[in-house]
């Protein structure tokens, strides 16, 4: 029972929310347009940093800071997209991965007055928290603190709005063009559409939604740290997307919730098995840190098996997945 409770907590927590939004952004890139963006962590990072540094160092209003974060994601998309969107899929993957890594290195080593290296940026949540409508007397609800609850309320409403928006968008002619780019770029080009510009728009839109994930994650943790935006962030978001089903509006949402739930459940199960007076797994075989490694080994295996046996994930349509290199 405790395990289920913990799993539920982790699956809908602010932390999971930032992954949900990042995965929704990836869904636009990979699921609908067929772009292999392996630098989603970079978009999440610039969103989070732009907002946090804007408030903490320059004391700009909260709304302006959010706009600054969105602007940062748009600029990053333009910088990344201009050289790479004409290249083949795996080149785009490598470049975006490299760009996200460069950003992480810069955040963790340079401009220490603003980015504070590995200590991270903090002290930017005052305005957001002052807007909290939940009564002061309520210190916690279920397993969540009052602050978490406020972040989650905003976050899940945001997820719902984004999903509705995307649902409408993908039914529109614009969405159809995106999907046809995924299926056959040349055919779309022959119809006189500017494929390059459509891809750029998709990259920007997905990147901005990734930046939303950065906002929610930063507000939830009340701090922004460079190492949380490493390549693993993107790979985990990809696993969630593929688990839920790419090219489905709710695919990444369901995938992310299931992913964190399952990860948390496996983790606490392993810890329980390895603790107590008469542990089922002897402690010499598995410490707490090692239990975490076992969890992520399972993640790797699941990603491999999904990709081999069920690339469409739980809810996807196999015909809708762009998996053949062009």
């Amino acid at each position: 029972m405790e395990i289920l409770q913990g799993a539920f907590h982790d699956a809908i927590s602010p932390f999971a929310l930032s992954y949900v939004l990042a995965a929704i952004g990836l869904n636009i890139h990979f699921g609908y347009t067929g772009l292999l963006n392996f630098g989603q962590a970079g978009f999440v990072a610039v969103g989070a940093y732009a907002m946090a540094v804007g408030i903490a160092s320059f004391d700009i209003p909260f709304v302006l800071a959010l706009l600054l974060g969105i602007l940062a994601a748009v600029i990053l998309a333009l910088i990344l997209g201009i050289p790479t969107l004409k290249l083949r899929g795996d080149y785009l993957a490598i470049v975006t991965l490299a760009a996200a890594e460069v950003l992480r290195l810069i955040f963790s080593t340079s401009f220490k007055d603003y980015f504070h290296a590995r200590d991270g940026v903090s002290g930017f949540t005052a305005t957001f928290r002052s807007l909290n409508p939940y009564p002061d007397t309520m210190t916690s609800f279920a397993t969540f603190s009052r602050n978490d609850l406020w972040v989650m309320t905003v976050g899940w409403i945001l997820v719902a709005l984004v999903c509705v928006y995307l649902w409408l968008l993908m039914r529109s002619p614009w969405g159809r063009v995106l999907r046809s780019i995924r299926e056959d770029e040349e055919a779309v080009r022959s119809l006189g559409k500017n494929v390059y510009w459509y891809k750029m728009q998709a990259l920007i839109l997905g990147g901005v939604i990734g930046a939303f994930g950065g906002f929610i994650g930063a507000l939830g943790l009340a701090s922004v740290q460079p190492d949380s935006f490493n390549a693993d962030f993107t790979f985990i978001a990809f696993t969630m997307l593929i688990l839920g089903g790419a090219a489905r509006i709710l695919g990444p949402v369901v995938g992310a919730v299931l992913f964190w739930g399952a990860l948390s459940a496996i983790g606490s199960l392993l810890v329980q098995l390895a603790s107590g007076d008469n542990p089922i797994i002897p402690p010499s075989m598995m410490s707490t840190d090692q239990a975490s490694n076992v969890r992520f080994m399972v993640v790797g295996l699941v990603l491999m098996l999904l990709m081999i046996y069920r690339p469409q994930g739980l809810f996807g349509d196999r015909k809708e997945i762009a998996l053949d290199a062009r």
Partner: protein, 437 residues
């Protein structure tokens, strides 16, 4: 380029047992490797931190080292006339801090470049922990930028030539199968870990351990191809899907390695800071020369074999056009299997050598993977010479860039070059245009 595929009906049932075999083999191998460590009963009571302070082979007496227990208790020891130092501390669960007092070092001796004066250690179940501060001739003397150029060039070339082996493997695998292998970095880690296992845990001489690492690396490559990649090719899995499978494999392997190393960074048993001698303003050590020599020989043998032998020609034929190669009687799967064996063996050897400079840790693969990608992309994906040239350029660039940017950011320079190259010449320096698509 098309992935080679046998034109048969996809066979589902082949994959599952194959994956099971690979996973089983891996678990078995590493579990067997892990036995000696976990079998030793956890020592009660004390832990001894031991080490020998040497500069250029000469013992350095009077160096003070302080060990702080997780409880905050401090224990200080001083090295004796033979440079030996022993500090006994009580065993407490958690992280110990080992700090060297740099003021007690002789004036002309300092910590080696890149060494922190403080290290965090989590002791294993064994009763003794090695102290691994690397000291050598003081590098803190004031130098102008241009004085550092020869040394940086030398370091860059050394790093580049070692990386070239791993890049060559990555490029060959891409050339013949079209797979962008994200798990290639973990093959580098694999080599270092196996060498460490045989060298430090089993006490074999380093050279023998290195040979074992290369052989097991090749075996690992063969098993991967036979158990995972070949069945995927047979099913006609797309290249992007296969690439994502390799990401899953990377995740799996890295966490497996972390599971068995428990996240520690370790050094080989015969690890000593070699004494260098001065050559045209460059500190050259015998170990560096041996590593560079072996790397050059390995690369030469592989490239010669590719250009001169029948099998090498067959490999290039498969890279050019698998279907045509297959119809001229070349056994495509055998060639690809061989490429995997050679590719992973090269990666393992690179890992064995990189273990000296980076330390043996599960993170090695993560550190080098992007640099390898940068190397092969800059040189030209799928081109043998491109991989070599690219690796050397990246190696030199990384070291040279420390002249103008902080050394924390030196890898970022290499990645920026990757992005710029793709902007102006997407096929890479030596690649062919058709590959860009």
């Amino acid at each position: 380029m098309q992935p080679p595929s046998d034109h048969r009906r996809p066979r589902r049932r082949r994959v599952a047992p194959a994956i099971a075999v690979v996973v089983g083999l891996l678990l078995g191998l590493v579990a067997w490797a892990g036995v000696p460590a976990s079998a030793a009963a956890p020592a009660e009571g004390d832990i001894t931190f031991t080490g020998t302070m040497r500069n250029a082979g000469e013992p350095v007496p009077g160096v003070e080292i302080t060990v702080t227990t997780p409880d905050g208790e401090e224990f200080t020891g001083t090295s004796d006339d033979s440079g030996r130092i022993q500090i006994q501390v009580p065993r407490v669960d958690g992280e110990y801090t080992v700090a060297i007092d740099e003021d007690t070092l002789p004036d002309d001796v300092g910590l080696r470049e890149g060494q922190e004066a403080e290290e965090k250690v989590t002791p294993s179940s064994l009763g003794s922990v090695p102290i691994t501060f690397m000291i050598g001739e003081s590098t803190r003397q004031v130098q102008t930028k241009w004085d550092r150029v020869p040394q940086l060039l030398y370091q860059g070339l050394l790093f580049g030539i070692i990386m070239a082996m791993a890049a060559l493997g990555l490029s060959m695998i891409f050339g013949t199968t079209g797979l962008t292998n994200f798990s290639h970095g973990e093959l580098v880690t694999f080599g270092a870990l196996i060498a460490f296992l045989f060298n430090s845990t089993f006490g074999w001489p380093f050279a023998a351990a290195a040979v074992v690492a290369v052989v097991l690396g090749g075996l690992f490559g063969w098993a991967q191809d036979a158990g995972l990649w070949r069945p995927l090719r047979r099913r006609g899995t797309g290249l992007i899907a296969t690439m994502i499978v390799s990401i899953g494999l990377m995740f799996f392997l890295r966490n497996l390695f972390q599971y068995f190393t428990e996240g520690r960074t370790q050094n080989y048993r015969e690890y000593v800071t070699p004494s260098g001698y001065d050559f045209l303003g460059v500190t050259v050590t015998t170990r560096d020369l041996v590593m560079a020599g072996v790397s050059v020989i390995a690369i030469t043998v592989v490239t010669l074999a590719l250009s001169r032998t029948r099998l090498g020609r067959a490999t290039r034929a498969v890279a050019d056009n698998p279907a045509l190669a297959s119809s001229t009687g070349i056994n495509v799967n055998r060639v690809i299997s061989l490429v995997w064996i050679v590719g992973t063996a090269l990666a393992s050897l690179a890992g064995v050598f990189l273990g000296f400079s980076l330390g043996v840790t599960f993170q090695m693969g993560q550190l080098v993977l992007l640099l390898l990608f940068a190397a092969v992309t800059v040189g030209g994906l799928g081109s043998v010479w491109g991989a070599l040239v690219g690796a050397l350029i990246i190696g030199v660039l990384i070291e040279m860039s420390t002249l103008v940017i902080p050394s924390d950011l030196k890898n970022a320079g290499a990645l920026m070059l990757l992005i710029i190259i793709l902007l102006v010449r997407p096929q890479g320096l030596l690649g062919r245009k058709e590959r860009v698509g």
